[in-house]
Symmetry: C2
Subunit: 293 residues, 2 copies
Amino acid sequence: MGISSRIDAAMAAAIRSGQGAQAPARLAAALGYAVTPGGARIRPTILMSVALACGDDRPALSDAAAAALELIHCASLVHDDLPCFDDADMRRGKPAVHRAFSQPLAVLAGDSLIVKAFEVLARAAGHDPARAVALIDVLAVRTGMPYGICAGQGWESESQIDLSAYHQAKTGALFIAATQMGAIAAGQDGAEWEELGARIGEAFQVADDLRDALCDEATLGKPAGQDDLHGRPNAVRQLGLHGALARLDDILAGAIASIPACRGEAALAQMVHAYADRLVPATARNRPTVPGE
Amino acid sequence: MGISSRIDAAMAAAIRSGQGAQAPARLAAALGYAVTPGGARIRPTILMSVALACGDDRPALSDAAAAALELIHCASLVHDDLPCFDDADMRRGKPAVHRAFSQPLAVLAGDSLIVKAFEVLARAAGHDPARAVALIDVLAVRTGMPYGICAGQGWESESQIDLSAYHQAKTGALFIAATQMGAIAAGQDGAEWEELGARIGEAFQVADDLRDALCDEATLGKPAGQDDLHGRPNAVRQLGLHGALARLDDILAGAIASIPACRGEAALAQMVHAYADRLVPATARNRPTVPGE
């Protein structure tokens, strides 16, 4: 089975386990709604790629780790879309959970998805509870306080933002979880894989800045030029288009250089390149030089 | 150290681990605010009592389990108080988290407390990751979907409520988690301890009905007579005062009878009695018979 089919199967099994005759039907429906259609599933794909590069000797644990990570990501989208945060009407081309169901069900769906992530990992422990515990630890650290995506979102309630802590927690945390969990699921030391995740997270941030500066609303699926509008730091504004593209290339070279020795090292470097091609809009790479850039 | 000191110390350590120089300060403050003052800490006290009755051979794991369970309970209070649910102004004698901080910080504090619960258990795994995994599994099942407190709250969004599933999930789930986790932390089979938790949960429900029907707002710390007002099922309305008290005694006798053989069986029966005395308002036990009851 390919990576994408494995992720889909693991996600479907996780959601099924939260449903059934004894479940309140609308909340059960909201869980399924919140995780499909899946979007790019970037984080679990990175996790699986690392697990495979490390030998993937306990595939059930890799599958569970991938699903757990994506469940946390989906939960964060559901809560971030709430009226008290982004008040988003749409997500992945359909009404956000709080619009399609209700605010109470969106809060509960997010909570249930967070809990399900840890349940999925505990259930997959099998004969290797030590690995499951290590996976749960990493996922919790990169989700909660003070280093996880909750902390990242929490920075937006501060009058003074520590930008580096903010970006690392808000965007970087789940990419670090992806590489570390992939390694741990396959029996490797997670610490060695932190840098790769952190650099992929940085690349994601710069690519996001490029898209915000260069794409129109139709391509983005959300309003463009928001960073400029809100005076937010943006790599294109700071470095110019070519500067930002050069920065992205630097980060990706660093990411590839950071890959620990493992049997699938070459395939993983390939994955990072493919990921980069996907991240950067063709319009950016192919755009003629603009004077002054 | 007594049970209550152990719980306080474990809670303080859990909250401290979510703070520090790199944390967004307001969210960090909201976490501490949400868990203090502690209220009765009923669930972790039951958990500790069961662990002690079972020998408490890994006290660090029992401490972690108690803290994890209470963190989930506190998270549920923070989210239940949100405007889209109970819209509560006050909790434990001070403004609710969403009033003292903000709605975004209340959502994030609840999320962070849920995540912290699982992190605390993973961190306490030590030389017994299998027990930690079993604890995480039980806590997840009794928190999420379809059997946990999220499901319980989810029933309130249904047009047709399955009352038994509703009460078991909303009130019973964390009491079942308490007895099962106490046993598991001490190396026993959690399944044997489900009935005790379920019966304590039922007793809690009947006692709540008694308080709602008999106490005034000042004693309750919240509006009285709410069940009558909203036409909700209430044991006093269904069975009369003496009927409800008799029902409570029945449930508690069943709870005591269900205690599995263990070295601390007698002490545990004592704990259930003490718990019952605390649950039932003296005004109920001492009230003269009212004609027609």
